[in-house]
C-alpha cells in the first residue's frame, strides 16, 4: 500500500471527487429546506427548488411591471459597471503609487508609513466624510471600492517592486537608463502581470465593498436587490443572487488568470495556483 500522499487520482476521479462536495451541500440544503417547509409551508428562510425557479423566472426572465426592464440584468450590469470601474481605477492608482513607493528610496521614506496606516482605516466607519467628498451617486460607490482595495494592491506592488533583483537596476543603469526610463522599460512591464494577479486576489474584497456600497444607497445593483428583498426575507431571491455573485467572482478569477498567462508568457514566477 502506498502512502496516502503518493496516491494520485486519475482525471476522471478528480473531476467527480471535486463535484462531490457540491452535491453533498445541495442534498444537505434540500433536506433542511424540506424539514422547515414541512413545519411551515410559508417559511422563507430555506425556500424549495420550486420557489427558486419561480423567483428566477420573475427576476431574470419576466420584465418588471414597474420599469419594463429585466431586473436581474439591470442589477448585474449596474454592479459590474461599478465593480469594473472601481477595480480599474484602483489598479491604475496602485501602479502610480506602488511603483515609486517600491523603487525610489525618498518616496518610500516619505509615504510608506502613511500608506500603511491608511490601509488599516476601516472605510465603512468614515462613510460620512466619503459622502461629503464624493456625493451619494455612482461616484461614491466606486470610491468606496477604490478606497477599500487600492491600499491592498499598493502594498503588494510595492513589495513586488522591491523584490526585483537589484542587479537588474544596476544593469539597466550601465545601459544608460535614467530613473524614468528604468520605470517604464524595466519595472512597469515586469510588474504588470503581478498587478493582474494582485487584482485577482483582491476581487473578493472589492465585491464586499461593492455590496456594502449598494446597501447604503442605490436604486439598482446586485447588492441593492439583496438588501431590499431582505426586508421581506425573500431568500428565494437572495440565494440565487448570492450564487450568481459567487459564479461571477469565480469567472473573473479564472479569466484574469488566463489573461495573465496569455499576455505574459514569460510570467510564471510568483504564480498562484490556488
Amino acid at each position: 500500500m502506498k502512502r496516502f500522499m503518493n496516491l494520485k487520482p486519475s482525471k476522471v476521479t478528480a473531476f467527480f471527487l471535486g463535484l462531490l462536495p457540491f452535491i453533498i451541500a445541495g442534498i444537505f440544503y434540500i433536506v433542511a429546506s424540506d424539514l422547515r417547509l414541512a413545519e411551515n409551508p410559508n417559511d422563507k428562510l430555506l425556500p424549495s427548488m420550486a420557489s427558486f425557479s419561480e423567483a428566477i423566472d420573475r427576476m431574470a426572465l419576466t420584465p418588471s411591471k414597474r420599469t419594463g426592464e429585466i431586473l436581474f440584468i439591470e442589477d448585474t450590469s449596474a454592479s459590474l459597471h461599478r465593480l469594473g470601474l472601481g477595480i480599474l481605477i484602483s489598479a491604475v492608482l496602485a501602479m502610480l503609487i506602488g511603483i515609486p513607493l517600491g523603487f525610489i528610496p525618498f518616496v518610500r521614506a516619505g509615504f510608506s508609513p502613511f500608506v500603511a496606516a491608511f490601509s488599516m482605516v476601516p472605510p465603512m466607519a468614515i462613510l460620512p466624510i466619503l459622502f461629503i467628498v464624493f456625493g451619494m451617486g455612482e461616484i461614491a460607490k466606486v470610491a468606496l471600492i477604490v478606497i477599500g482595495v487600492t491600499p491592498l494592491i499598493v502594498r503588494d506592488l510595492q513589495q513586488r517592486v522591491s523584490e526585483i533583483p537589484a542587479e537588474q537596476f544596476i544593469k539597466a543603469q550601465t545601459l544608460g537608463g535614467s530613473s524614468w526610463s528604468i520605470v517604464i522599460r524595466v519595472i512597469l512591464p515586469q510588474i504588470f502581470p503581478r498587478l493582474l494577479d494582485s487584482v485577482r486576489l483582491t476581487l473578493g474584497t472589492a465585491w464586499i465593498f461593492l455590496i456594502s456600497a449598494e446597501a447604503i444607497s442605490a436604486t439598482e445593483g446586485l447588492g441593492y436587490r439583496i438588501f431590499l428583498v431582505r426586508r421581506y426575507m425573500s431568500m428565494d431571491v437572495i440565494l440565487p443572487y448570492v450564487a450568481w455573485i459567487t459564479f461571477l467572482a469565480f469567472l473573473f478569477d479564472y479569466l484574469l488568470k488566463k489573461l495573465t498567462y496569455k499576455l505574459f508568457p514569460w510570467y510564471s514566477a510568483g504564480k498562484e495556483n490556488a
Partner: protein
C-alpha cells in the same frame, strides 16, 4: 416551555424594554409567573424581525407594517400583544431648501425602501395629489441617512428619529410632512408568535406587567429612568425627551385599550395592506390586498378569513388596565 426570548432594537419607543430588562423589572414579572424571559438586543432592525420570522425568537418589536409584510407574509401567525405607541412626528419628509411638499415632484427621495418611511412618503404624496411615479426612490440605509444629507446630490429624505431631529438641526432642512398628519398609522408594537402565545398566556402577562410598570415610571417623568434610556440610545436626556415629544406613548393601559378597540385600526391596516400589496410585499402569490387576513379586537376582520396571520388583541392590556396582572 418556560424560557422565552424576545428581540428588541434601539428606538425611542422601545427603550423602556431595555430599562425593564437592565433594572430587573422583566425578571421580577417573569418570576411572578414562573418563567424566564430574555430580551435580546439586535442592532439591525430587519435582522431582528427576520430572526423572529425564522423562529429564533418568540417575540419581537416591530411596526405594524413590518409585522404584516415580514412575519405574516412569511406565514408566521403573529399577534400584536402591546401597541406601545404610535409615531406622532417621529417620521417625516425633509426637503433641502424647498418649503412645500409639492416641491418634491421630480426629485430623488432618499429613504429606507419598503419601510414605514416609504409608506409615509406614499401617504404624503397622496395628500398633495401626487403619486410615487412623480419621484424617484433611492434606497438609503437608515444608519447613513444623516451623513447623506450633507451630500450635495441629496435633496429629499424621509428619515425617522433620531436621524430626523439630527437632520433638522442642519442648514436648509425643512420638515414638509410628518407622521403627526397621519396619527395612529405607524404603530410600534410587541409582536408574539400566536402559537406560543396561545400555549403560554403567562408570557403575555409577564411582558404586559413589566411594560406598564415602566410606563408608570415614565409618566411620572422619572429622570433617572429617562436618563438611563437616553444613554442606551446614544443620546442625552434632552435629546431623548425631544424624541419622546413626537411619540405618542400609551402610558396608561386604558389609552392602549382604547386605541386597540378603535375602528381606526382596521382602516389603517387596510391602507397599509394596500400599500404593501402594491409594492409586492405580500408575496408574489398574493392576488389582492386582502390576501393576508387580519383579526382585530371585538371580532372585526380584514381580508381572507382562511389566511389570518396577524392578530391584534387587547386581552392582556385590558388586564393591565383592570389591575388584574
Amino acid at each position: 416551555k418556560d424560557k422565552f426570548t424576545v428581540s428588541w432594537t434601539i428606538y425611542v419607543g422601545w427603550m423602556p424594554w431595555d430599562y425593564a430588562q437592565q433594572k430587573g423589572i422583566v425578571d421580577k414579572w417573569a418570576k411572578k409567573y414562573g418563567i424566564e424571559i430574555d430580551l435580546v438586543q439586535v442592532n439591525d432592525y430587519i435582522e431582528s424581525i427576520n430572526q423572529y420570522t425564522a423562529g429564533k425568537f418568540d417575540g419581537c418589536l416591530m411596526t405594524n407594517m413590518d409585522a404584516l409584510t415580514i412575519p405574516a407574509a412569511g406565514g408566521v401567525d403573529s399577534t400584536a400583544l402591546i401597541m406601545g405607541d404610535f409615531s406622532n412626528g417621529n417620521d417625516g419628509i425633509i426637503l433641502k431648501g424647498k418649503k412645500n411638499l409639492a416641491d418634491i415632484k421630480g426629485q430623488d427621495v432618499n429613504l429606507v425602501e419598503l419601510s414605514v418611511s416609504h409608506y409615509l412618503l406614499a401617504r404624503g404624496l397622496e395628500s398633495v395629489g401626487l403619486s410615487e411615479r412623480d419621484v424617484k426612490v433611492v434606497n438609503t440605509s437608515d444608519a447613513d441617512i444623516v451623513a447623506a444629507y450633507s451630500s450635495n446630490d441629496v435633496t429629499a429624505l424621509v428619515p425617522w428619529n433620531p436621524q430626523l431631529s439630527e437632520i433638522m438641526t442642519k442648514k436648509d432642512a425643512n420638515l414638509v410632512f410628518d407622521s403627526s398628519k397621519i396619527p395612529g398609522e405607524i404603530i410600534d408594537m410587541l409582536v408574539i408568535n400566536t402559537e406560543i402565545l396561545k400555549d403560554n398566556p403567562k408570557l403575555a402577562k409577564a411582558l404586559t406587567g413589566a411594560w406598564f410598570e415602566v410606563m408608570s415610571l415614565m409618566k411620572k417623568g422619572d429622570t433617572k429612568a429617562l436618563t438611563f434610556m437616553a444613554e442606551a440610545s446614544g443620546t442625552d436626556l434632552a435629546g431623548y425627551k425631544s424624541q419622546l415629544k413626537s411619540t405618542k406613548m400609551f402610558y396608561d393601559p386604558k389609552e392602549a385599550v382604547e386605541f386597540a378597540d378603535s375602528s381606526a385600526l382596521p382602516n389603517t391596516m387596510k391602507k397599509v395592506s394596500e400599500f404593501s400589496f402594491n409594492h409586492g410585499l405580500l408575496g408574489e402569490g398574493a392576488p389582492d390586498a386582502g390576501f393576508i387576513g387580519m383579526e382585530f379586537p371585538n371580532g372585526k376582520r380584514f381580508g381572507d378569513p382562511k389566511n389570518i396571520k396577524l392578530r391584534f388583541i387587547d386581552t392582556y392590556v385590558k388586564m393591565a388596565a383592570e389591575g388584574k396582572l
